[in-house]
Amino acid sequence: MNYLEAIGKYFIMIREVFKKPTKWPIMRTLILKEIDELIYGSMGIIIFISFFIGGVVTIQTALNLNSPFLPKSLIGFATRQSVILEFAPTFTSIIMAGKVGSYITSSIGTMRVTEQIDALDVMGVNSLNYLVFPKIIAMLMYPFAVAISMFVGILGGWVAAVFGGYAPSGEFIKGLQLDFDSFHVTYAFIKTIVFSFVIATLPSYHGFYMKGGALEVGKASTTSFVWTSVVIIILNYVLTQLLLG
């Protein structure tokens, strides 16, 4: 019953987010600030993780393709497919659920604890629109981060293949171009957009409706990360079945 109540409350929150919008000049500033905080501020970790994940995928694929009848280009092919279909959109989203999600929950939760949200409500500001809407819009930039993640992941794979001696550059690139289906990129971006909405709104929900003090802010951040990850994993399955199944 509690879960059902929470799901209902989440969707009511989403409806409230789009009501009674904040003045555009203020909203524009908030959106730009959130893009800087949520997307630009996460690029370092996204690039770092993507590069090494790409490298690891390449090494593991190369080590498992030990038959002389299998062409080395398959290493590039497997790296491309793994990175584009799964690692860049899903793995990065789990990382973002931790980094951005806990930031969102703790910042909104702290505002709740210190009565800043009450102050907005008393002034007649739609606090949900003011706090959550800019995050949703900022997270629409997330597919660009995932595109960079895809590129860097494949680059990491190429570096590992070539400098690790697992495949020559030409073979690896040939594999990257093998049987390329552009819908796989579309599928990855559809997933990313759905995940971006989840990453912006679920942690906001946990922060906005939290009760208690500083300790509860920490607990809310942890709960938010767990639930955001769970929802991402479930939606990943559902979307894959719907779009590729």
């Binding site: 904040t22 003045k23 000049p25 203020i26 210190t114 009565e115 800043q116 009450d118 102050a119 409500d121 008393v122 002034m123 007649g124 500001v125």
Partner: protein, 255 residues
């Protein structure tokens, strides 16, 4: 003026407000006092429109809150200023940003006009050199003054303060009390203060409402509170030896 007529508010089985009726006059500092759990905060939140009572009505200069449309309620909210117990300043904004915030949100003033108004109210609360500082960089007393400046920047008709001098040293607490009283009289605002501070009761309580277990137990002025023989009030207000002596001296002086 705010008139409250027989309001009831419950949370589940917990009946918090049990038929409170009173009137808060314009241009006066009205104080709500009572023990923890007496319903002060819920009552204040009802007055602010954050909670809607199940029964009774609250009337703001003739406008009954429950009869207003959503837009009218929003307009009414903009006539209210609130000073929170912990100041509730936006910690991502400077002092100037905090005070300017309501103007940016709700007016069409130019940047220069807003700046002029912000400078004026900050000067009014005796904060001149704090414009570019963040709430975390200023003292508790200064934070309260910024909160007051933010609350009055829109020229409110109603000012609500939730324990405005809690956590402050006695000298700063008196300064804040006096500032609120001065502003109330200067701008002819209906000010309602939720407090535990007996100094405030004695100093600025032009009207005092004493709540007990969700009921209105007593109301009167800071002069009348010396003379009352209501046991609940005297037990609460004169719980310290110091205040007992103050009361005794006051009564002896009058006799």
């Amino acid at each position: 003026m705010i008139e409250v007529d027989n309001i009831h508010k419950s949370f589940g089985d917990n009946h918090v407000l049990k038929g409170i009726s009173t009137r808060f006059e314009q241009g006066k500092t009205n104080l709500i006092i009572g023990q923890s759990g007496s319903g002060k905060t819920v009552f204040l939140k009802c007055l602010l429109g954050l909670f809607e009572p199940e029964e009774g009505k609250i009337c703001y200069n003739g406008r009954v809150y429950s009869d207003l449309t959503m837009n009218e309620k929003r307009d009414l909210r903009q006539e209210m200023g609130m000073v929170f117990q912990g100041s509730a300043l936006f910690d991502s904004m400077t002092v100037e940003g905090n005070v300017m915030f309501p103007l940016e949100m709700f007016t069409k003033q130019s940047k220069a006009e807003m700046q002029e108004r912000v400078d004026f109210v900050l000067k009014r609360v005796n904060l001149i050199d704090a414009h570019t500082r963040y709430p975390s960089e200023i003292s508790g007393g200064m934070q309260k003054r910024v909160a007051i400046a933010r609350a009055i920047v829109m020229n409110p008709k109603y000012l609500f303060c939730d324990e405005p001098n809690s956590g402050l040293d006695p000298k700063t607490a008196i300064l804040i009390d006096n500032l609120i009283q001065e502003i109330t009289q200067e701008y002819n605002i209906t000010t309602i203060i939720n407090t535990h501070d007996m100094n405030s009761v004695m100093e600025i309580g032009e009207k005092i409402l004493f709540l007990k277990d969700g009921y209105k137990e007593w109301e009167g002025t800071n002069k009348e509170i010396f003379k009352t023989d209501n046991k609940a009030v005297t037990d609460f207000v004169y719980s310290s030896e110091l205040f007992k002596k103050v009361r005794q001296m006051y009564l002896e002086e009058r006799n």
